[in-house]
Amino acid sequence: MSRTFAVIVELDDDLRTDAPASAIVRVARASERAGVTAVSFEDHPTAPGAGAGAASRSGARFGRLDATLRAASVAPITSSIGLIPVVHALYNEPFHLATQLATLDTASLGRAGWIARADPDPSIAARHGRGPLPASAADAELADVVEAIRGVWDTWEDDAVIRDVATGRYLDRTKVHYADFVGDRFSVKGPSIIPRPPQGQPVVFGEPGSAAELDAVLLDLTLPGRDRPAAHLNASTDSTIAGAADLPELLGRATEAVDAARTRLAPGTLIVVQLGFALDSAGLSALDRLADERHHTRADARAIVTGDPSVLVDLLTALARVADGVRLFPASLEPDLDELGRAVLPGLRARGVFHSPLAGDSLRTSLGLERPTNRFESVAPDPLASNAQTLEAAR
């Protein structure tokens, strides 16, 4: 079986510009030109670094524009890349999230996914006027939210709009259903206010180990226990730098982690490995670039692969044998995205481990996922069977 290896690039926005919209459009177009499978949009509803001590720190960055809206804004100006916003799902209204994501899928002609985030951060709860959810309850809540949203998406069968002039009916109401979801903390009646999205179900990404029904999980690739080369990183990050010499270890860890996850996941769930990268570009070494404070690196434990683009080609070629895709976090958006399109993706295509999506493909198609059947679909009576019954009855 030939497996599709997905390359997803995180397009963290940078509001250090007068025109954030044109910056978002520029990087989305660059990603599509490069031929990546999909782009993702990180999000956190409160300001980055809003914790203790942040108020006195000068030069704090703005927060991010809502990720679903950023994804929607690039939908009409792209035609093949998947659009995957991070959506914090614990305190929002599941009905709104369902229709927002269905709208993203409709506007992009079937290219929507979402990263379902369950962050029990009390500051997120507080802005919704709610008490924080105990961490132990967060995943159960997320599972409920995902189930409710999937139910709302399915409430319209694909052929519910009939425009039947003879009877004056626009809708066939037997093909529109109530979601009737009842969970521990909320309920949603339904139906959706927007027809079933083009993919039926936009692709749901989440954490391995979540009880939520996921299409794909995101697995961090780390190199723990290693001395951080402090000179190359600013103080706020725990990322570890990996170079060509670290590839065997990285690959070993990835294989182990993917195999362990695979045994716990529902069959068919995609596994996407998350990895930072910084590539030598225009005569500037990635390590020198990372040392420059102006290029922020992220505060997480993810490994950052550095060096010549061939290092990343080698790693991803090997990863394609164990995982279903990779979500790449460029250390600096523009030079790293350039190198990805110029050298990395052509290298992967040449080795036959990666295909760019085609214009008009849905994200499900690009990822090799089936379009799901509708949970409410009425079982159409088989005309032959009913004929047979009629004949039977007539005898």
């Binding site: 009409p76 209204e93 009905f95 269905a102 507080a126 006027g129 626009y170 309920s187």
Partner: protein
């Protein structure tokens, strides 16, 4: 001294659910495909429309306990769809109808501000209130709000949104905040929330606030909070009365009389030859009010299925089985006194010799502006001369081609007469509407100093 020439502006309302959209015409396209929205928005922008407006649905409409199946249905989430439209338009305003009851205020403020920044200062929020438990069944809090409290609650939500939008200081530039603004708490009867400004202000400061609502309470709410009011009074005489009332209320709220712009909703039916007008209007009305729609309309008031009712015959001779109508078909019938209304309809029909379908056409559709571009322009000139409206919010009866004749024929005619602009005056919606700074960002001195002469109450 000659009166300065005023201009008429246009907005367009993409109807989400309504019997007024003709879905059975051969040229009728999808009501939900993005392409329909793109075409309508881009046509409107070609016609220099001020705003593109989306409604909101929070529950699919029902008719006598079952889903209503005769009208167009299914619409995108307004803010998400407008974010997509922002990248394929440049100057037109993007107005999202958003309910104050079933959104968390800080989350809603963040999404509206995101749209405003993304679109370069073209976002607006049409503030609506809903309070019924039937709608609440789709949301975490359920139906928690009394009808009587809907406006005090909405005022709270707006106040919180303005706190969010004002939280980041103006001197924050280049994406860097000198200091991160402190979080603020907001505690009232309805909310206990904690917010923090995290986004830069858009080029227009705040999203523009729109509001519709015709009760005395609704008008006062608009006079205190809104910057544009959608009215239902599109004919000259009622529009003049409405404008006088609104301007008095706006002054009473401590604002300049012209601080609140007035945009009645209206339908336009443009024909090439005056002799076609009557036939075209009849064609549109009969496609809006099909025999089935006429019967369903009567059933909605009567509160019962009337399977034997002849749409070409008279109204039922018996009274409705309900005294007050419910919410399930949207605002049209909200809390209408059924028995009283039925008697009035019966009298009206007998007097005019109307069948059920004639009656429904007459009570449920607007008169609209119908005729050649030149005839409609004649009708619009007095509005421009008197300034009783600032513009019209056009409800096209056909998707996506419903603006083509207006943009191709009527707009040039109005431009020739000098009562429609020939280019957008500004880049932001606030500039294009001729609005002052957002309400919470003015000093008292600003307001007095900037009252234009033309703003005196007529």
């Amino acid at each position: 001294m000659s009166t300065p020439v005023r201009r008429i502006q246009f907005g367009v309302f993409f109807q989400g659910v309504n019997s007024s959209t003709v879905w059975d015409a051969p040229e009728s396209g999808s009501q939900t495909d993005f392409e329909s929205f793109r075409r309508l928005a881009q046509t409107a922008e070609r016609g220099l429309f001020t705003a593109f407006f989306l409604g909101e649905g929070l529950r699919l409409r029902e008719h006598l306990g079952r889903l209503h199946d005769l009208d167009i249905a299914g619409r995108p989430d307004a803010i998400t769809q407008l974010a997509a439209l922002a990248s394929v338009t440049e100057r037109i305003g993007l107005v999202a109808t958003q309910n104050t009851t079933y959104n968390d205020p800080i989350d809603l403020a963040h999404r509206l501000q995101s749209l405003d920044v993304l679109s370069g200062g073209r976002a607006a929020w049409n503030v609506v209130t809903t309070d019924n438990a039937w709608t609440g069944e789709n949301f975490r809090r359920g139906g928690y709000l009394d009808h009587a409290d809907r406006y005090t609650h909405a005022a709270d939500v707006i106040a919180i949104a303005r706190r969010v939008w004002d939280a980041v200081p103006d001197n924050a530039a280049d994406g860097l905040l000198a200091v991160l603004p402190d979080p603020f708490r907001y505690d009232t009867a309805y909310y206990s929330v904690e917010g923090r400004g995290v986004l830069p202000r858009s080029t227009q400061g705040h999203p523009v606030l729109f509001q519709a609502g015709d009760s005395a309470e609704g008008r006062d709410f608009a006079a205190r909070n809104a910057e544009v009011i959608f009215s239902a009074h599109a004919q000259l005489e009622p529009a003049t009365e409405f404008a006088a009332d609104i301007r008095a209320r706006t002054l009473a709220a401590g604002r300049p009389a012209d601080d609140l712009k007035i945009f009645p909703g209206q339908e336009f039916i443009v024909v090439d030859d005056a002799s076609e007008t009557e036939e075209k209007v009849r064609w549109v009305r009969e496609h809006q009010i099909t025999p089935q729609t006429a019967v369903a309309f009567v059933e909605q008031l009567w509160g019962a299925e009337l399977p034997d009712l002849d749409p070409d015959g008279p109204l039922p001779s018996f009274d409705p089985v309900q005294s007050i109508t419910g919410e399930t078909r949207g605002a049209g019938f909200r809390a209408t006194k059924a028995v009283e209304t039925a008697r009035a309809w019966r009298e009206l029909s007998q007097e005019r010799g109307w069948s059920i379908r004639d009656l429904v056409i007459n009570v449920s559709t607007r008169r609209g502006f119908a005729g050649t571009a030149s005839q409609i322009a004649d009708e619009l000139e007095p509005f421009a001369r008197t300034g009783v409206v600032d513009g019209f919010n056009i409800t096209p009866w056909l998707i996506p081609g419903g603006l083509d004749d207006i943009v191709n024929k009527l707009v040039p005619e109005l431009q020739e007469r000098g009562i429609y602009w020939t280019d957008y005056p500004g880049d932001t919606l606030r500039e294009n509407l001729g609005l002052r700074e957002p309400l919470t960002r003015r000093s008292a001195a600003d307001v007095v100093a900037t009252v234009p002469e033309a703003a005196t109450v007529p």
